[in-house]
Every structure is written in C-alpha cells, then in structure tokens.
C-alpha cells in the first residue's frame, strides 16, 4: 500500500497545535468550523463514478477524474468536454465511489505509450473504442451496435477485469490499480475542507452474480485506507463484512452501503432462500457492517414495489426493476425492496434475536460521468454518462432515447432518473460528524431536492411540543431521532408519539403530504400500513378507503413550468400510532411528498419540441424518506418464533 504523503488539512492543523509550536507567535484563528449541538441538515452524494471506474471509462465520453468530481461538487468551475460547467448549488459532502475492480486501469489507454495500451487487450480496446467514438471525440456506441465482434470484446473485458467472473488482470494492471487507489485517497484528502465540504475515501465493491446487483459502497471514516477488498477477492457479501471487521481491528473504520436492491432480482434482502444461513451471528455482523442502504438513485427506487404494496398509491414511483445486465428481464420484487426488507428483518429478529435488515436510508446518484447532478433540469438522460452543458444530448439523441428504448444499454433511457441525495443531521460539516450521523443512521434520502425534515419518537412527547421555540432540544431530550431505537415502553405509556417537521426546498416545490409508513411483524407475518399524518390544503380522507385525495397538478406540459399555488411550505404534526400493540416488533419511517413537478424526460422533450417520453409519467412527486425508528418488543412480549414462518 502506498502511503499517502500529502498531509491532510486536519493533520496540518493538528500539527499547528502541537506543543513544539507553542513558542511561535500566536496566530489569529482561522474561521472556526461551525458546530450546532442540535444538528443541521447537510446534503451530499455517497455514490459517484469517474473515469477511474472501468465501466465509466468504456461507456463515457468524459474524462472527469476524482479531483474534478470533488471540485465540481463543492461548486468550483471545471472543464467539461472543452467548456466550463458549474453545479447549480454546491453539495455539502461527496464520496467518489469508483469500482474497485481494475480501478483506474483503463485511463492509461489515453496514453498510447502506456503499458496498458501496449498490452494485447489494451491494443484491442483502443481500436474498438476508436471505432465507437465520433470525430468530435464523443463516444457513440450506436456506431458499433451492429458489430458483434465489438460487443464480444467488450463483454470479454468486462468479464476478465471487472465482473469478478474471472481475474485475468496481468500483474501490471494490478500495479496500475494500486497507484490509482493511492491517488483516489489523495484526491479525497486534498479536497476535504472541514466546515465547508467533506469528502470520504470510498470505493464500490462490485459483486454482480449473474448480473443481479449486490453491490456495496465502502465508506472509510479516516484519511487512510488499505487496498480495497474487491469482487475479484470474493463475491460474497459476508466475505466483505469479514474483511471490514478485520481492518477495523487494525484501525480502519469503514461501513458498507448496499444499493440498487431493485436490480438484485430478490437476492439483496433475500431471506426465504436464505433461512439456512441467517442466524443471530449473521444478523449481527450484517447490521454492524452495513447500517445503511440506498433507497433511491438514478437506476430507480428501492423503497417499495406496487406488487408488494398494492395499497400504496405512491409505490409505483421510478421503478426500474430490470436485471442489470439483461434489461429485458424483470426482477423478483421480494427481497429487492427496503420496505419488504424492514418487516422481514422484524420477523427474523423475533426468530433469531437480531435484525439483519436494520437499515437507515441514503440516496445516491450512481452517475458515471464524474459530475453529480441532482436537479431534474440538470439530468439529461445520462447519454454516454454525460449530463451537463455540452454533454447534453442532441435533438436526435433525445428523440431516439425518449421514443422508448428503455432496454437499451448506455443510451438515453427515459426510465432512469436524476441523481438522488443523502441528507444527514450532523453537528458540523466534518468527516467525524457526518460519519457519526451515518453510523447512528440519522440520515434521510431525497430524490434530489433539498427537502428537509425531522422525525422524533418518544413515549411522552408533549402535544404542544412543536409550538415551543426550543422544540428540537426538547425532542432530543425526550425522544430519539430518525435512525434510533425507542427505549423500553414505560408502564403508563400507551403508544409511541412522533414529532414530525418538514419544510420545502427553498428552490423547489411545495409539499403535498407527510406520511408515516409503519411495518411490523405479527405472528411471524410481515405487515405494512401507511398513515397520512399531515397534508396541505383542505382535503378530507375518503371515509370508505381512508385515502386522502391527490393534490392538484399545476404543471404546464407545454412549457414545463409549475406553480407553488397548491401545497404547503411546511407540514408539521404530533402523531401517535393509533393501532400500537406492544407485542409486535415495529419500524416507522417518514415519507414526505412534494406537489407534482415535471420529470426530467418531460423537460428534455419540451426543450427539443419532441413528443413526451413513452412508458414514464410526465410529472412526478419528488419525495424524501427518513431512516426508520425501531420498536422492539421486550420481556414477555418478545416470545421467540419457534420455527421459520
């Protein structure tokens, strides 16, 4: 492992405070890092690829490296396809998570004299990539889509150096990978500005047995990291957790975040097929090493599926349940969605005494062009991984993509969506503070807006709590925040009480409603129910169905404009579970919906005067999800299940 020798800023300031410096004249302090013990919301992306990822290099026109990725995310202007681009609004934090398999190797193809270029496979790849690139330097795979030899070569490279099906990387490639990893660490450290912009040393472990994703991002807490454990080392998630435990003993704290469960064909949160191996030790190891799961990103949401939640009229949202390789085949929804996993975890908890699926929620972009964009207007269908400025699709490309080739690899597909965001409630914008929020699951996800919400639960939160100016301090004192565990129920309490506060993105749409999603287990069976707890406007629930009518849609499909004339700026309430039964293990999470706004595919169609996209809605209700709060039955109520249901 190459040691990074660029001194991280934190170390430099630590040096400045060491006693040997005390003789130096006192320096006026640099602006102090802002600390709020009651925590602020910070927004970032924990999932982004650059040209250091093998697939990104092959697919993409763009040569953005991790350094440029960080600089763009923090609001700097970067060069992009020859033109300057700047993010609409800076992010507060970013983890570049390049695929660890053959990380950074193919970039060496840019140099015709490099050993990679001069190797057999490199020579072939250079020729193939040249055939798939337009004269203006942009990748255009439509040039080779009829060339079976091209695709055979592409697939072979994928298999041998990336997919983990075999490892044929020559020793030289591995050396290139190690050097690239040292640079990744260096880029992350160099772009870390405590109090302003936080970076994390991170990578993606890319295990995809039979094309079904069980990928995990690995996020390190500190400024050093060992060489990555890759899917070429093992494709088994448990082997990754074992490795995380091993390196933790050596002082490297890290956690794994599974993602794209929706594309896992049911194996991400599988338990029916996995009953043989799920025991208490398995559940505890999984929980200890992956406290979070990605609930949404460009390749779809993993919250809920209409087939698993037929009573949830909002479950059919950005569903992208294709097997990641064979996009014509739909996956198995059971085991692929988090709401299902949360209740399965409770059943398992009653059976084995621990919950393997005790997941907090994060959102990510998973974009492969190095630039993390999260606004619908800034996403452009990800054509050859490009989205911004000069990377946006031409009218012809947009027409081809929007016309409905949803199953086509690497083209604009109207089924994907813009980058999603992770929100954290943290004391300050520093690695320690944000990593701490990730560890205690005080996180939320949004579909890309800066929607903000707090969610507390306790047994005795006062009814008038939200009217107090110091309500947040009181809520922390008397309850637990999102991601937490309710303490044991006092004898005189009836049901958990929730404090819910949500406010719109100041640059975004008004709020439609706040919902509490409750999952629980009952006699070993999974249960779910959705409660509308606060909503905008004068609407009454249908007495028969209990459903709240939909909010008005102000979107003009001719111009792509909407108006905040419906919906609310803020939605707040105190809510107690009306059907609480202390014998059931439960989990509750908050879902906030915005009013309908135009989907990116609609904005793209309007911009080019094209028909609206096929197979996707013209408008969407963007949303946010809080990490759950868990309740565990205790004492006589916690009778274990004797057998698996």
């Amino acid at each position: 492992m190459n040691k990074t020798v660029i001194l991280p800023a934190a170390l430099i300031s630590a040096l400045a405070c060491c006693p040997c410096q005390s003789a130096a004249p006192a320096q006026p302090a640099a602006p102090a890092v802002k600390v709020n013990p009651l925590r602020d919301a910070y927004y970032g992306d924990l999932h982004l690829h650059t040209s250091y990822s093998l697939d990104a290099y092959l697919d993409s026109t763009i040569k953005v490296d991790p350094d440029e990725a960080y600089r763009f995310a923090k609001g700097e202007v970067v060069d992009y396809l020859g033109q300057p681009v700047q993010r609409r609004e800076p992010l507060d934090f970013l983890a570049v998570t390049d695929h660890s398999e053959s990380i950074g190797v193919l970039r060496a193809l840019d140099d015709p004299d490099s050993a990679v270029s001069r190797s057999d496979v490199g020579g072939k790849l250079r020729a193939f990539l040249a055939a798939a690139t337009n004269s203006d330097g942009r990748r255009d795979l439509s040039r080779v889509s009829g060339d079976l030899g091209w695709w055979a070569e592409f697939t072979a490279v994928w298999r041998d150096y990336f997919g983990g099906w075999s490892d044929k990387s020559p020793a030289g490639f591995r050396a290139e990978s190690r050097a690239a990893w040292a640079r990744e660490i260096d880029f992350a450290n160099r772009n870390y500005e405590p109090g302003k912009f936080t970076t994390f040393v991170a990578y993606e472990w890319t295990s995809g047995p039979n094309g079904a994703h069980v990928h995990r991002n690995v996020i390190f807490k500190g400024d050093t990291a060992p060489d990555p454990f890759t899917s070429l080392d093992s494709k088994e998630p448990k082997a990754l957790w074992d490795w995380l435990e091993t390196i933790r003993k050596k002082g490297f704290e890290a956690l794994a975040i599974p993602h794209n469960a929706n594309a896992s064909n049911g194996i991400m949160y599988d338990w029916i097929g996995g009953l043989k191996y799920i025991d208490r030790a398995y559940a505890e190891e999984r929980q200890a090493n992956e406290p979070l799961s990605e609930i949404s990103q460009t390749k779809g949401t993993s919250e809920a599926h209409p087939l698993l939640s037929p009573n949830d009229e909002f479950a059919d949202f950005e569903i992208y349940d294709f097997n990641a390789i064979d996009r014509h085949q739909e996956g198995r929804p059971e085991g692929s969605y988090l709401r299902d996993a949360l209740s399965a975890g409770l059943v398992i908890q009653r059976r084995v005494g621990a919950n393997p699926f005790k997941y907090g929620f994060v959102g990510g972009s998973d974009l492969h062009g190095g630039l993390s964009v999260s606004a619908q207007a800034d996403y452009a269908g990800n054509i050859f991984s490009a989205n911004m400025g000069p990377g946006k699709p031409s009218r012809e490309q947009a027409a081809r993509g929007l016309a409905g080739k949803a199953a086509e690899l690497l083209e604009v597909t109207p089924k994907t969506t813009s980058g999603n965001l992770t929100g954290v409630w943290a004391e300050s914008n520093t690695r320690d503070s944000i990593y701490g929020a990730l560890r205690r699951r005080e996180t939320f996800a949004t579909t890309g807006t800066r929607l903000k919400f707090r969610f507390f639960a306790g047994w005795a939160l006062p009814r008038d709590l939200l009217r107090r100016s110091d309500w947040v301090a009181r809520a922390y004192a008397a309850g637990v925040p999102m991601g937490g565990d309710l303490p044991a129920k006092p004898a005189d309490a009836n049901a958990p009480i929730f404090a819910i506060w949500s406010v719109k993105d100041p640059n975004g749409a008004n709020l439609d409603r706040a919902q509490v999603v409750k999952v629980w287990e009952e006699n070993g069976r999974q249960q779910q129910k959705i409660y509308d707890v606060a909503w905008a406007g004068a609407r009454d629930k249908d007495p028969k169905t209990g459903k709240l009518p939909a909010i008005g849609n102000t979107v003009d499909l001719g111009t792509g404009k909407y108006a905040n004339t419906v919906g609310a700026t803020e939605l707040t309430t105190i809510w107690a579970d009306p059907e609480f039964d202390s014998r059931h293990f439960c989990a509750y999470y908050l879902r906030i919906l915005e009013i309908p706004t135009p989907r990116w595919s609609t904005l793209l169609a309007i911009k080019h005067g094209l028909p609206l996209a096929n197979g996707v809605p013209a408008t969407v209700q963007q949303r946010g999800w809080s990490s759950p709060i868990w309740y565990a039955a205790r004492g006589p109520d916690a009778v274990p299940l004797e057998t698996w249901p």
Binding site: D505, T569, E570
Partner: protein, 299 residues
C-alpha cells in the same frame, strides 16, 4: 465470441531471402583436429556456464533472515505478529513475487517496461515528498504566497440582518406580503430594530451574521430577498421581500463589500495551497536536476 486470429497456415507473406553461407578460409581452419578440440572445449564451457546461470536463476533461497524481515514488515503494517498460516502465505507470496521479478528481468522488463518505469518514477516522487514532508512553511513564506496569489483569497460581500417572516401557508401569498408591508411601516415609524415575534415562525434562524450571496441562496432560495438584500438601505425595515418560503421584511444592520481576505483569515487555505505548490515545484526541480545529469538523445 468471434475468433479474430488470421487463418492458420496462411502463406501470403513471402519468407525473407537468405544469403548463402560463405565460409572461405574459415572452412579450412575448422577442418583441423586441434580446432575441433578447442571448439568442443569452448562449447562445453559455455554449456557449463549456462547450466550454472540457469541454476542460479532458478534457485530461490529463503533464509531465516528473509522470513524475519517478512514477519517484521507485517508487524509494522498491522501491529501484531502474523499467525503461522499467515506467515506461510506471506512467504509463498514473496516466492511468487521473486519468481515473477526474475522472469521479468529475464524478459528485460526493467529496461523498457512502461509500468515498471512509472512505478520507479512514482516511488521516487513519493520519496521526495517523504523527505520534505516534515518541513513546515514559515509564515513569511506563506505570506509571500498569499501576496503572489492575492486574487485567490477574496472574501465575498456579506450582509448581517434580522428578519420577520410571514407564512404563505397561514396567510396566502398576497396576505403574507401585505402583512410584511404593514409591519415594516409600523416598525419604521416606531424605530424598532428587531421584531421576530411579530411575524410567523420561520423554519430556520431569524437572525443572520455575515451571510454571503451563496449562503443566502442556500438558506432562502432564489427570490427578491436573495437578489435584493444587498441593495436594501441599512437601518430601516425593507419593503416586502420574497424567499422560497414566504414574505419577509428585513432590517440590515451591517454590510461588508467584497474585499481582499486578511492573511490570518485564510492562513489554513494558504498553507494547503502552498504545500501543494511546493510539492509540484520540488518534483519539477528534482526532475530538472536529474535531467541535467543525462544526455538525452532524441530521434
């Protein structure tokens, strides 16, 4: 997968023409018995050398010293001693590496391989950095750097204010605007400078100190408040300003134009930039001084 090799046995390419062997006088010498003897001896000697060389090449001696060094390396890296199977695996790995290393040398990779060359270059760069890392720049050096790159160290314009908020949820858009207008007039008449409790509760802080335009955009969103607050007259309640949340009247107490940052404010940033620029410069200098020792022949 398609087989991309050319068909076997293809004889399109003509074989190079060989010149006939011309031995001339050498033929006579070679026919002498003494010469046969000498030649045979020389061949045996050469064979012996080759066998010996091959034996040396293919013999890898693992000494106790080597094993100790491997174990010691592991201890330094991970803090505890390797277990016996771990040590065995490490020794095996060393043997593999040694074999690959020798094979690579045999192929001459050390002389021309790009990766090896780059590894060495990188190793050298890291060594350079290691050697110089403990040197911390003096303030004088940093101040020079700060002056030379003054344009990079500017503080954006900032505004300090208190605001009273009127919720469109509670009052409607026009109702909130009118309420802000009415309150502003009243407060200006009475000379009151803070009146948070006379509006609705804002979903954020009420008072702001030294906010930049970028921070304003993040807190209040686009709107007349973010765009107009730098033009509001200080010491007076403003006309209604719209944020992404609702209507406000603001009372600006201080405004700082954009200015050059004082050295002390940006010292950490200057230090980071300085170390980075020194690193780049040192590497360039080291390379230049090395280059001076070589004669570089170009085609």
């Amino acid at each position: 997968m398609m087989d991309r090799r050319p068909p076997a046995g293809g004889a399109e390419r003509p074989l190079p023409q060989r010149a006939p062997l011309r031995l001339g006088p050498l033929r006579r010498v070679l026919s002498e018995p003494l010469a046969h003897f000498v030649l045979l001896g020389a061949m045996l000697f050469a064979l012996d050398r080759a066998v010996e060389e091959h034996a040396r090449f293919s013999r890898i001696a693992i000494t106790q010293d080597r094993i100790d060094r491997i174990a010691d390396n592991y201890r330094r890296q991970f803090g505890d001693s390797p277990s016996s199977p771990q040590l065995q695996a490490l020794v095996d790995k060393y043997i593999d590496e040694e074999i690959l290393y020798r094979e690579a040398l045999k192929l001459g990779l050390d002389r021309e391989d790009e990766i090896v060359r780059r590894r060495l270059v990188q190793k050298y760069e890291f060594l350079q950095q290691d050697l110089s890392a403990p040197q911390r720049p003096t303030d004088a050096e940093l101040e020079d750097h700060y002056r030379e790159h003054a344009a990079r160290y500017r503080v954006p314009a900032r505004v300090t204010f208190t605001q009273t908020y009127f919720s469109t949820d509670l009052r409607g858009d026009q109702g909130a605007r009118r309420a802000a207008q009415a309150l502003a007039s009243r407060l200006n008449r009475r000379g009151i400078t803070r009146a948070v409790e006379q509006g609705d509760r804002f979903p954020g802080p009420d008072d702001f100190t030294a906010l930049s335009a970028e921070e304003l955009l993040r807190v209040f969103g686009e709107g007349t408040l973010t765009r107009g607050i730098f033009d509001v007259q200080a010491g007076r309640w403003s006309a209604p300003l719209r944020s992404g949340y609702g209507w406000h009247t603001v009372y600006v107490t201080a405004r700082e134009p954009d200015r050059q940052a004082a050295f002390a404010e940006v010292r950490d940033q200057v230090e980071r930039d300085y170390i980075e620029s020194m690193r780049t410069m040192r590497n360039a200098r080291a390379l230049a001084s090395l280059r001076a020792q070589f004669t570089i022949e170009r085609p």
